[in-house]
Symmetry: C2
Amino acid sequence: MESLSPTAYVILGMVHKEPRSGYEIKSIVDNTTRFFWAASYGQIYPELKRLSEAGLVVGADAPTGGRRRTVYEITADGEEELVAWLRQPPVTFEMREEGLLKLFFADALPREEVPGILRAMREHRLAANEKLRAMEPMAQEKDDPFPLLVLRGGLEFTEWFADWCERMEAQILAAAAKPPPPRKGAADV
Amino acid sequence: MESLSPTAYVILGMVHKEPRSGYEIKSIVDNTTRFFWAASYGQIYPELKRLSEAGLVVGADAPTGGRRRTVYEITADGEEELVAWLRQPPVTFEMREEGLLKLFFADALPREEVPGILRAMREHRLAANEKLRAMEPMAQEKDDPFPLLVLRGGLEFTEWFADWCERMEAQILAAAAKPPPPRKGAADV
DNA sequence: TAGAGATATATCGATCCGATATATCTACGC
DNA sequence: GCGTAGATATATCGGATCGATATATCTCTA
C-alpha cells in the first residue's frame, strides 16, 4: 500500500476518540489544527473514502432525519497506523508569511516607511493572539491535555513574534536616528 | 487588471535590483525566502510571462553560448506595483507543522512516549537553526540589511521554538513523575 | 410559516509543489 | 582531446491543497 498523505493522519486523529462525519471533522479542524495543519472539504471527503477502502476507518449510516449522513470510526488497523505515524519524527515544517516577505524586500521602500511594516506585522500577530485566547476556555474543558498544550504554544509564539516585531522596529528607528550609515543608493531610485 | 498573486511579488522583488533569469530567481528563493515563502519552477516561469505581458517586467535575450536565456528587468510600472504592495498590511500567515500536529494527537500514544515527540521537534528546530546559521555570512556581505534582519529573526525563532519544546518536555515529565492525575481511560484503549 | 443559519456531502478551478524531461554549458580527471 | 558529472536554463506534469460554491435538509426563531 502506498503511504498515506499527512492529511489522512489528521482524519485518523480526528476520528480516533469518537466516530465523526466529514462535516464534523472539517468544523473541528477549523477550530483547532488549522493554525498548523488545515484541511478542506475537497481533501476530507475523498480521503475518508480512501481510508475506508483501505480499512483504516469504517463508515456507518447515521442520518439526521431525511438528510443522509455517514460517521466514520477508526479501526484497529487505523489505530495502529495512527500510532505508528505519531512515533515517526516530524518532517514537514512550512510557513507562508507575507509580513516577513515584505520585510525581506523592504529595501525597495523609503527607509522611513519600514517601521510601518513591522508595526503592521505586530498588529497582525496580536490579533491572532486574541483569536487563540478566545479558544482557550474551550480547550480547558477537555480531558485531553494536548490540544491545550499546543494552543498555549500558539499563544506564546504569537507573543514572541509580536515582541520581536517591536524590538526590530525600535532597532531600525534607533539606527535611523543616530548615525546615517554610509549606504550606496537604494530605496531612492 | 486582476490583482497579482503573492508569488508575483516575490518575482518583482527578486528582479527589483538587477535583471535575473527564472533559474536565478528560483536559486535565490531556495536560498532565502523559501523559509517563509517558497516558489517552484511551475510558478516562476508562467508568472514571468504574465508579468511580462502586464508590462511589469521586460525580458531580454541573454544567451550563454548556444543556450537560450531570458533575463527579466523590472519596469517603472512594476516598481510602482511592488512598492504599493509593500505598503499594504500583510494578510497571509500560514503554517504546516507536523510536530505540532503529532503533539495535538499525542493522547493516542502511551504517556511515556510523548516526551519523544517534543525531543524530535526540538532536534528538528535545532537542525533548522544550524542551516540558517550557515547562511548568515552570505547575508552579512550584502549591502541590503533586511535579508539579514529576517534571517536573524529566523534564528531567534528556531531557538525560541526549540526552547519551548524543551520546557514542555520538562513539564510533561514533571507532571508524570509527581501526581498521577485522575484521568479517564485513553491512550490505553 | 417564512427565512436564516447550521448540518451534510460533493465538486470545481486556481494555485502550489516536487519531480522530472530536455538541452547546453563548464570543470575536471584521464 | 574525450567523457562525464554537475551547473545552468526552460518547460511541464501529476498530485496535493485551497477557497468557494452548489445542493439539500435540518433547526430555530421572528
